[in-house]
C-alpha cells in the first residue's frame, strides 16, 4: 500500500543536506510519495527504511520464476482482473501429471505421450511446458525419485506434488538444478518444507484445506523470510477451486491483500479425476479466470489446439493486434503455378481467410504483406493496405517465386483493382467476395 509523505519523512535521516536536490528532507519525502523522485536519490537512507519502502511500493502480485533455460517461465505479476483494463502479462502454463498411483508402464506411456504435442501457432511454440509428479502418501520413496528422474529427462519444468519432507528432499536432490516447484507446504509441515525449498533454491507451493489455512501458511512462510511462493488453489472440488482461484486473485489485485499476491496452481487431475472432457473444460475456465499453472491428466493434440489458441487470445495486448509474418503461404499443396490471393497480416483475418481457403480444397498461394496488423478496411483507411503496398510486395517478394499471374484481392478493397493492375503489368486482378464465408464457392467457381 502506498505510503504518505509523512510516513516516508519519518524514515529519512532528517539531515537536510540537499544532496537529493530538495531543500529539505520533508520536501524530498513529499516528492517520493507522489512518485516524482526515487528513494535512491537520498544516499543516506538506512537499509531497513529502503526495505520497508520497497515492500510498500511493490506490485500487488509477485512475479515468480520457475524452471531454467528454455524452460524458464514467469508466473504472476498481474495488475488487473480484466484484460480490457490492461494486458495480462504471464500466460497460464500447462502441466501433465504423473502419479505414484500409476504403474511403471503407464508412467512411461504418459511421459512419451506428453512430449508429442509440439507445434507453432503465430510465431509461438506450443507444447506441454511442465510435468506434475504427484506423490501419494505412503508410496515408495525410491520409486518416486525414479519417476522424478524420468520426468526431468524430458527437459520440461517439474512440479513436485509432495507433502512428505523426507521424500521431497530426496526428489529435490535429483532435480533441483532444473528449478522445479516444490508443491506441498501445509500448515503442518511448512517449516520443514521451507528449509528444503530455500536450501534447494526452488519455488514453494502452499496448500491447505481452505483459504484461511492457506492464508495463514503463506503469512507464516513470509514471516520466515520466504516470498518465493505459489499457491495451490485446487481445494477439494471444482466449485472450491474456482472460488479459491478467483478470490485469491481478487484479494491481491482489488483489495491489495499482499498475502495472496502469488500465482496459483489448479490441479484438474485432482478434482476431475479420470474425466478428460471435464478437465479440458476446466483448463479453459481457469485460463480465462486466474490459473497460473493448470494441471491435467492428458494434453493431446485435440485438447491442445483449442487450449493454446485460447491462451494466445486471452494473453494478447488489447492495444496491439496479433500479427502473422508476411510471406507466401502455400495452401492445399499449392505450387508456383497456383492461384494467388492476398490479404492483410491481422492474425484473425489470416485465420478466417486461410481456414476458408483450406476448406475449399483449391491449391492456392495466400500472400500476406505487412499491413500493420490491421483488418482489411482499417488497414486501407490507415494507408497500410494500398495499391502501392500490394504491388511493391509482389514485385519484391512474389514475382520471382510464383509463375501464376492471377491475383485475388479482398472484396472490401475492390476499388484498388485498377491501380494494382496499372502497377503490376502482366497481372490479372480479381476481386473476391465481401465475406470470407463466400470464398469456398467463389474459388470453386473460379477454378471450375
Amino acid at each position: 500500500m502506498a505510503l504518505t509523505g509523512i510516513q516516508i519523512f519519518k524514515m529519512t535521516p532528517k539531515k537536510n543536506c540537499k544532496e537529493c536536490g530538495c531543500p529539505t528532507c520533508m520536501a524530498f519525502a513529499m516528492k517520493v510519495a507522489q512518485g516524482a523522485l526515487e528513494i535512491s536519490k537520498c544516499p543516506y537512507m538506512s537499509d531497513e527504511a529502503l526495505a520497508e519502502l520497497s515492500e510498500a511500493t511493490a506490485p500487488p502480485m509477485k512475479t515468480i520464476k520457475v524452471g531454467t533455460g528454455e524452460g524458464e517461465y514467469t508466473l504472476g505479476g498481474e495488475t488487473v482482473l480484466f484484460r480490457h483494463e490492461k494486458t495480462f502479462v504471464s500466460k497460464t502454463r500447462y502441466a501433465v501429471s504423473i502419479c505414484t498411483c500409476m504403474d511403471d508402464a503407464a508412467v512411461d506411456a504418459k511421459i512419451a505421450e506428453l512430449q508429442k504435442v509440439d507445434y507453432d501457432r503465430i510465431g509461438e511454440r506450443m507444447h506441454v511446458e511442465m510435468v506434475y509428479v504427484n506423490y501419494e502418501e505412503g508410496a515408495d520413496k525410491d520409486r518416486y525419485v525414479e519417476m522424478v528422474k524420468k520426468a526431468a529427462a524430458t527437459g520440461k519444468t517439474l512440479i513436485l506434488g509432495c507433502k512428505d519432507p523426507e521424500v521431497a528432499k530426496a526428489a529435490l536432490e535429483v532435480c533441483k538444478d532444473g528449478k522445479p516447484v516444490l508443491n506441498g507446504a501445509t500448515a503442518a509441515n511448512y517449516a520443514a518444507m521451507n528449509d528444503l525449498a530455500k536450501e534447494a533454491g526452488v519455488v514453494l507451493g502452499v496448500c491447505g484445506a481452505d483459504l484461511n489455512e492457506i492464508y495463514d501458511t503463506v503469512a507464516a512462510l513470509e514471516k520466515a523470510g520466504n516470498k518465493n511462493l505459489v499457491i495451490d488453489a485446487t481445494g477439494s472440488s471444482v466449485k472450491e477451486a474456482y472460488a479459491n482461484a478467483v478470490q485469491i486473485r481478487r484479494a491481491a489485485l482489488k483489495d491489495q491483500d499482499r498475502t495472496f499476491g502469488y500465482p496459483t496452481i489448479v490441479n484438474t487431475a485432482a478434482i476431475a479425476h479420470g474425466d478428460r472432457n471435464l478437465q479440458q473444460a476446466l483448463a479453459s475456465l481457469f485460463t480465462v479466470k486466474y490459473g497460473s499453472i493448470v494441471v491435467m491428466e492428458t494434453l493431446d493434440y485435440a485438447e491442445a489446439l483449442p487450449l493454446f489458441g485460447l491462451r494466445q487470445n486471452v494473453f494478447t495486448d488489447p492495444q496491439k493486434p496479433m500479427k502473422v509474418e508476411p510471406g507466401i503461404y502455400a495452401l492445399n499443396g499449392a505450387d508456383e503455378n497456383s492461384l494467388c490471393l492476398t490479404t492483410v497480416d491481422f492474425a484473425l483475418t489470416y485465420f478466417v481467410v486461410s481456414g476458408e481457403l483450406e476448406r475449399s480444397g483449391v491449391p492456392c498461394n495466400l500472400i500476406i504483406s505487412d499491413a500493420g496488423g490491421l483488418s482489411v478496411l482499417t488497414a486501407w483507411a490507415a494507408g497500410k493496405l494500398s495499391s502501392t503496398s500490394v504491388a511493391t510486395y509482389i514485385k519484391e517478394n512474389v514475382e520471382d517465386k510464383v509463375k501464376c499471374r492471377k491475383l485475388v484481392i479482398p472484396g472490401k478493397v475492390a476499388v484498388l483493382k485498377g491501380d494494382i493492375e496499372a502497377k503490376l503489368p502482366g497481372w490479372e486482378v480479381i476481386v473476391a467476395p465481401l465475406e470470407a464465408v463466400q470464398l469456398v464457392k467463389f474459388l470453386k467457381d473460379l477454378t471450375a
Binding site: L211, D255, D257, A281, S284, A302, P306, N313
Partner: protein, 313 residues
C-alpha cells in the same frame, strides 16, 4: 489472522427471461454476480444448454452425433431425440436451409419444419434464422407467428432487421427476442436501445453478442462479455442487463481444427475428438466470461458442460 473475505456485492442484476411453458420452462439470467461467483452471492439460475438441430437434418459426418440420432429421420424425430440428450435444457432449431446461397428453401417449407418441431418437443424452443438478412426479415416474423403460445426465443433481430423481427416476435406474438450484434459492447447496447424504443419490453430480450471459436479472436468475446456484465452490474446499465446466449456449436465445428481430415493432419488425431474439444473449451470459456446459455451439438459436449455447470453452482 484468517483471510478477510470481501464479497463483491452489486445493487443490480441481470434480467430473468423465461422461455417455454409449463414444467420444462427455463429461466435465463437473474444473477447479481460475475459468472459462478457463488462465494459473493448465490447464482439465481444455472446457465442453460441448448441442443442445435437443423432443418437440413443430420448432415454431420461425426459418428457420435450420427449414433445419437440413429433411427430419427424426420426433423420432428430428430428434435424429439435432441431434447432427451443428457444435460439439455432446450432445443435450438436452425433454419440454415433458407440461405439463398445454399438450399434456398421457401418460407412455407421452413415454417412447416418449425411447426413439426414445435409439435414434437415439450422443452423450450429457440429458433434461429438462416443468417441471410433479407430472408430472415421475412422468415422470422412468420416463425414468431406460427409459434404463438409457445413462448419461444426467436433469433435473431439484427441492426438491419430489428424492426420487422422485433415487432413481430416481441410485440405482435409475445415471444422472446434474440438481439444479435457483432462482438462489441456499444453495438449490443445500441440494438437494445432501438428495440426498446420500438416498444419491445427489455425484459423480453436475450442478447447474442456474437462469438468466435477459441483461438480465433476470442479475446474480443471475453472482453465484450466482461465489459457488458461489468456495466450491467456495477453501473446498473439496464440496456445491458439482458441475459446472453451464445451459439457455440456453429463456431466451434467450422474452424480448421474441427474440420481438417485425419489424412491431412495425421498427428492431430481423430476429427471427432478435435471437434468436441473445440466445442467444450469454447463453451467453458464463454460461460466463464458471462454467457447465460450456450448452444451445443455433440452429446459429449452437452454432458460435459452440464456437469461443469452443476459442479460450479
Amino acid at each position: 489472522m484468517p483471510f478477510n473475505q470481501k464479497p463483491q456485492k452489486f445493487n443490480a442484476s441481470i434480467n430473468t427471461v423465461e422461455i417455454g411453458c409449463g414444467d420444462k420452462a427455463i429461466k435465463l439470467g437473474g444473477e447479481c454476480t460475475f459468472p459462478f461467483y457463488t462465494f459473493d452471492a448465490p447464482m439465481e439460475n444455472a446457465p442453460k444448454i441448448g441442443v442445435e438441430v437443423s432443418d437440413l437434418g443430420i448432415a454431420s459426418n461425426i459418428p457420435g452425433i450420427q449414433k445419437f440420432y440413429e433411427g430419427a429421420s424426420t426433423i420432428g424425430e430428430i428434435a424429439k431425440k435432441a431434447e432427451t440428450m443428457e444435460g439439455a435444457d432446450f432445443v435450438c432449431l436452425r433454419l440454415e436451409g433458407g440461405d439463398p446461397n445454399g438450399e434456398d428453401k421457401s418460407i412455407d417449407e421452413l415454417i412447416e419444419v418449425v411447426k413439426e418441431v414445435a409439435e414434437a418437443v415439450t422443452c423450450p424452443l429457440v429458433v434461429e434464422g438462416c443468417k441471410n438478412v433479407e430472408k430472415d426479415t421475412e422468415l422470422l416474423p412468420k416463425v414468431a407467428e406460427v409459434l404463438q403460445g409457445k413462448n419461444a426465443l426467436v433469433m435473431s433481430a439484427r441492426e438491419e432487421n430489428y424492426k420487422a423481427v422485433g415487432a413481430a416476435a416481441g410485440l405482435a406474438y409475445n415471444q422472446k427476442v434474440g438481439a444479435e450484434s457483432a462482438v462489441d459492447i456499444n453495438l449490443a447496447k445500441q440494438l437494445n436501445v432501438v428495440m426498446t424504443q420500438l416498444g419491445v419490453n427489455g425484459q423480453d430480450i436475450v442478447m447474442n453478442v456474437g462469438s468466435a471459436a477459441v483461438g480465433y479472436g476470442f479475446e474480443y468475446v471475453v472482453s465484450t462479455m466482461d465489459r457488458i456484465k461489468g456495466a450491467a452490474l456495477s453501473q446498473n446499465d439496464n440496456m445491458l442487463q439482458m441475459p446472453i446466449i451464445t451459439a457455440v456449436a456453429d463456431e466451434a465445428w467450422s474452424v480448421k481444427e474441427a474440420m481438417a481430415t485425419e489424412e491431412d493432419m495425421p498427428e492431430w488425431g481423430p476429427l471427432e475428438e478435435r471437434g468436441i474439444s473445440m466445442e467444450v473449451q469454447t463453451a467453458a470459456a464463454v460461460l466463464a466470461s458471462g454467457s447465460d446459455a450456450v448452444i451445443l451439438k455433440h452429446p459429449q459436449s452437452v454432458a460435459t458442460i452440464s456437469k461443469m455447470i452443476k459442479e460450479l453452482m
